[in-house]
């Protein structure tokens, strides 16, 4: 089992400034899953009930000179502590940028190693970051779990395949900051959030308790996938009635999720996505958030980077 690659300058920037800060908020540990073509950071795919987050990079987006080999179809997966990884990348980047320029520019080598830690007889695996400066070399070892077995990798791959089902209707949220600001304040009022998404391009989120109902409605959003024209008679209704009518007509779906989970998924805006879409997976299985990234200086989607979250549903709601 071997893995060795150089992190490109763009890769350093993507990880250090954008993705690792966001992934750190998603959860302390994640799976790092490396294949012949992709590197993926996966949260909560195998265990439990939290927000699943799937960040996938084509190898060229992060690395050059990417070499991987394993007896399991060149796939390697292990568990890593995101904050440790972030610290290692951050300090390696600062060393690189301090000394590196010209053709002999310093590059950041990442490889999988086994080392004998102090006071131990058993070697343990590390993800090692090697930076060569002008006169010095800095090596940082981030401890990782034992690489996953063939069966575990298969299980992870299956779980990953399960996350690929797209909602039939996706609506684009224009201002993630505004939404985050709102949801952060909403957290004081209640724990469960009803989310309704309609084919008319309406997104309605609402908290209801015995004492208070508090909701926000975003209308006329850009719709991807199945869409329909809003009926004129719905225009002057309250947001709540409008949502339930859309659901009754089969033009909308509604799920209930935890406010905390919803707020957590919004932390993904730290990755600086160019757009974000919300949708409800078929059969109301989960609330899906898809983030898109443009090729810098264009409005074309960068297919080499993808990020999406799946927020578990508390209750199937009225769908």
């Amino acid at each position: 089992m071997k893995f060795k690659a150089f992190l490109t300058e763009n890769g350093m920037h993507l990880l250090e400034k954008r993705f690792l800060p966001a992934l750190d908020k998603m959860g302390k540990i994640c799976h790092l899953y490396l294949t012949k073509d992709h590197a993926m950071f996966l949260h909560n795919l195998l265990n439990g009930d939290g927000v699943q987050s799937i960040a996938q990079f084509r190898k060229e987006a992060l690395f050059d000179d990417y070499r991987i080999s394993s007896q399991n179809d060149d796939r390697i997966a292990f568990v890593i502590d995101v904050s440790l990884l972030q610290r290692a990348v951050r300090s390696s980047v600062s060393i690189c940028s301090e000394f590196g320029d010209g053709p002999t520019a310093n590059r950041l080598l990442i490889k999988l190693v086994k080392k004998l830690p102090a006071n131990s007889t058993q070697p343990i695996p590390f993800l090692s970051f090697e930076t060569k400066g002008y006169k010095s070399a800095v090596i940082q070892d981030v401890p990782i779990s034992k690489p996953l077995s063939r069966a575990q990798v298969l299980e992870l791959q299956n779980a990953l395949d399960m996350t690929q089902d797209l909602p039939q209707t996706l609506v684009q949220v224009p201002d993630l900051n505004q939404l985050q600001n709102f949801v952060d304040r909403m957290r004081h009022v209640g724990d469960a959030l009803n989310v309704t998404i309609s084919k008319y391009g309406d997104l309605h989120i609402q908290i209801s308790t015995t004492l208070v109902t508090l909701g926000a409605e975003f209308r006329k959003l850009l719709v991807i996938g199945e869409q329909a024209n809003a009926t004129a008679e719905d225009q002057n209704l309250t947001a709540q009635t409008r949502s339930s009518r859309a659901v009754l007509r089969g033009d909308g779906q509604s799920v209930q999720v935890s406010v905390k989970h919803f707020a957590k998924s919004l932390h993904c805006h730290l990755t600086k996505p160019d757009c974000a879409f919300y949708g409800i997976a078929p059969q109301g299985a989960c609330l899906t958030v898809i983030f898109q990234f443009f090729i810098p200086g264009s409005r074309q989607t960068d297919k080499s980077i993808s990020l999406h979250c799946r927020i578990p549903v508390l209750d199937t709601g009225s769908s």
Binding site: R185, L211, T213, G215, E217, T238
Partner: protein
Amino acid sequence: MEEEAPDLLCQLENVQGLVDALSAVRWKRHQDAVVELSEHGIVLIVEESGCLQAKVYLKRELFVRYEYNAQGRPRFGVSLGLFIDCLNTYSVPGQSSSIQIQYPGPDMQVLLKSLDSQDASICAQLRTRIPETFAWDYNFEPAGTNPLTFTVKSAALREAIEDLEWPGSSIQIILQPDPPSVILRGEGHGDLQIDLLYHAHTDLLAAFQCDHRVSFKYKYKFLRATTSNIPGSVIKENRGSKVTIGRGGMLKVQHLIPISKMSVSHPYVDSVGYQQPGRIAYIEFFVKPELSEDSTNDY
């Protein structure tokens, strides 16, 4: 079915100001408030243990629209914390957001609605209760022919009360004409006395009126509630609070809380010192004194 006009339909331009004003009387997490509506405006009343009462006066001039259609004065009870938390979701940092408040809704709720954008709106419905009547009357009467009163920088008053936390649970407030001064004194684990001398500290003590010496004791936690939640805008603008001692030692503390963000939206208007009185929310606290062993206080 013809829809009847609600008792009150009003619109406000700056939610944050309202959040500030109501937060000033929120001294604990769960608090019940009574709201009273009239053609002159809205009054919100909070009370604790029969010893402390706070009122927020929101005059109709504060609102850009104020439609009052009720007979008598409708009153309803509401959870202050929830009310503030709801209003807070309407407030966007760095800009003033408008809301509409309506009472009652179809099920006697308070309805809140954002007005800024057609395509992104926030709605809230707050359940109301039938209010309890207060156990005692906080009728404030002057202590004599001349009021016993002083005006002090809100920040200084708050700081003084915070400093008095350690000595003990009751604080003595003394007003004396010679030399004209206010003395705040705590006794308990130790003694701490804060003297505010009118002639020496004119920057802190803006006004002072007292023709005879009075001294009363108040529970520390009640005194603290009168200043602990003064909004940052009041401190920043260096405003003053007025303290008056009435008949029987009843203490009245008044704050003025700016509701509109004049300095942001109209810098020129502000620079000439023009302030519309309608842009101020009035806050009043009433604190009953502790019963003193010696009745040396003369009225």
